[in-house]
């Protein structure tokens, strides 16, 4: 079967799951937007007003880190248990597991795009940042998307074998949130602790996005982008290795 057919299947599955999700909710899509809005609201008050982090355009800076972070963590947290939750479906019919996972990631990406447009654009419109650089967004989002997808694939496959992974992720993310330069710039990190930022892949995924949204300084953009793609390539390799190794046991463990 060709990739085109998989893509159609992913779209259909995503549409159906959106329909299914919002049918049983009262406010539906509003919650999806409300989560990043509230997160952003509380954090901007605490960090800007209470802790008095002093830097220009702090709101845009925070958004530039927070939106990709929410996409990254929510995709992984929704995606990791997908194979276990949909185990019966996967065992019953000949459906490519990647289609089911792809639909989950696409679903998450739609939420991200919607919240981006609704939250970010008003901010952006009122500041004097050049709008033209927003055209670079698709390129900047690509490594974030590939990296997130690969990590979700790896974890969702492993979760079939070691069910505790799903529980551990929430805990890891709450630690990682503070270790990732999301609400503070890298320059705040003392030299002794810089390695913590250097080994943190999320940082590389966020960087190109934030460069476009916040700094609008494109001198080092190509390098930032390269690092980001390199980090995502590493996770693609890991995902492929894990799938190759676990593929045959997969259906027995579901």
């Amino acid at each position: 079967m060709v990739i085109h057919e998989y893509w159609i299947q992913i779209q259909e599955l995503t549409l159906a799951s959106l329909k299914s999700r919002y049918r049983k909710t009262l406010a539906g899509f509003i919650w999806v937007i409300l989560n990043p809005v509230l997160m952003f609201g509380v954090q901007s008050i605490v960090f800007k007003k209470f802790l008095k982090i002093d830097m220009p355009d702090y709101f845009l800076f925070l958004l530039g880190g927070l939106l990709p972070w929410i996409f990254f963590t929510s995709t992984i947290q929704m995606g990791t248990p997908v194979f276990v939750n949909q185990g019966q479906l996967l065992r019953s019919f000949k459906i490519n597991p990647w289609v089911v996972l792809g639909a989950q990631v696409l679903d998450s990406f739609i939420n991200f795009t919607a919240s981006f447009i609704l939250i970010m654009l008003p901010f952006y419109a009122t500041s004097d940042k050049p709008l033209l650089s927003l055209l670079l967004l698709p390129v900047a989002l690509l490594p974030l998307l590939i990296g997130t997808l690969s990590i979700t694939i790896s974890l969702s496959v492993l979760n079939v074998f070691y069910r505790d992974i799903n529980f551990v992720m929430g805990f890891i993310f709450s630690l990682l949130f503070f270790l990732t330069p999301i609400f503070y710039p890298v320059s705040f990190v003392p030299d002794d602790f810089k390695w913590l930022v250097l080994i943190n892949p999320v940082n590389y995924f966020i960087d190109p996005f934030r460069t476009i949204i916040h700094t609008s300084n494109f001198d080092g953009f190509f390098l930032v982008l390269c690092k980001s793609f390199l980090a995502s390539a590493v996770f693609v390799l890991i995902a492929l290795l894990i799938w190759k190794r676990k593929q045959n046991d997969f259906y027995r463990r579901l």
Partner: protein
């Protein structure tokens, strides 16, 4: 002569072997893996894992018109063989040569989105089952009519009884012919009236399909549906051929154990 014979072969299974690492048999948590890796690091990395062959050297051809019933005690590799044929599992060695379209069902009690109605689930499943078809609506409508679910078709799928779910799914999967159809114990679980009704439809559908593989524990159903029997035992083919002889063989093996 040989060329016409070859064109009748829809699928060729050559020395198929599937094994699992025995170590993975019990559910482990990360702690066990960690303790194992730390206390015996070299073993963890290099020790060859003990292998369990679920399928060990399977050879057979599926020819056009064959309706193969697979018999075998629990754990003899029936479902694994079907999953291999369907392309869901890759065999570690051996080959499956085919250019046929293969459709497989392993359970009928599954809807994709329990919150959505039967009709919506049917549409979605049709798109997943028949990815090459642009407009699946005629097939879905035909299946809905056949299923006789009436106004229940617009009720959320989660409210369906097992029999209703099975009706809809079997109606749907049989709404379009395919080269090879694999049905793994799909009639089991539904009540006798449903079974009879759906079995009738299945039989006519099976006649339209190029070939069928049918897994069941009921020798009566195998007699009704199949014209060839394959008996699996210990990962190998114990018997392949005539229906009555195959069933006899199966019962012989079972009573010995």
């Amino acid at each position: 002569m040989t060329s016409t014979e070859d064109s009748d072969v829809l699928l060729k299974v050559v020395n198929l072997k599937v094994y699992f690492e025995l170590e993975h048999y019990h559910q482990k948590d990360l702690r066990d893996v960690f303790v194992g890796a730390v206390s015996h690091p070299l073993d963890y990395l290099f020790k060859p894992k003990e292998l369990f062959y679920v399928l060990n050297g399977i050879n057979f051809d599926i020819k056009r018109g064959m309706r193969i019933g697979i018999l075998g005690v629990n754990g003899s590799g029936k479902t694994t063989l079907c999953r291999c044929l369907a392309g869901m599992i890759k065999a570690q060695s051996g080959m499956i040569e085919t250019r046929s379209e293969i459709r497989a069902i392993f359970d009928t009690g599954t809807g994709i989105m329990p919150e959505l109605t039967g009709r919506e689930n049917a549409m979605l499943l049709a798109r997943l089952f028949f990815p090459k078809v642009k407009d699946v609506l005629p097939f879905v409508n035909e299946a809905i009519t056949f299923s006789e679910l009436g106004h229940f078709i617009d009720v959320p799928f989660k409210q369906y009884s097992k029999g209703m779910q099975s009706r809809l799914l079997l109606s749907l999967v049989s709404s379009k012919t395919t080269d090879i159809l694999i049905l793994d114990e799909v009639f089991d679980g539904a009540d006798v009236f449903f079974q009879a009704k759906i079995a009738e439809r299945m039989r006519s559908f099976i006649e339209k399909a190029g070939a069928t593989i049918f897994v069941s524990h009921s020798s009566e159903q195998i007699r009704q549906v199949c014209n060839t029997v394959l008996v699996l035992s210990g990962g190998g083919i114990e018997f392949f051929g005539d229906v009555e002889k195959g069933i006899e063989k199966y019962y012989e093996m079972g009573s010995k154990k």
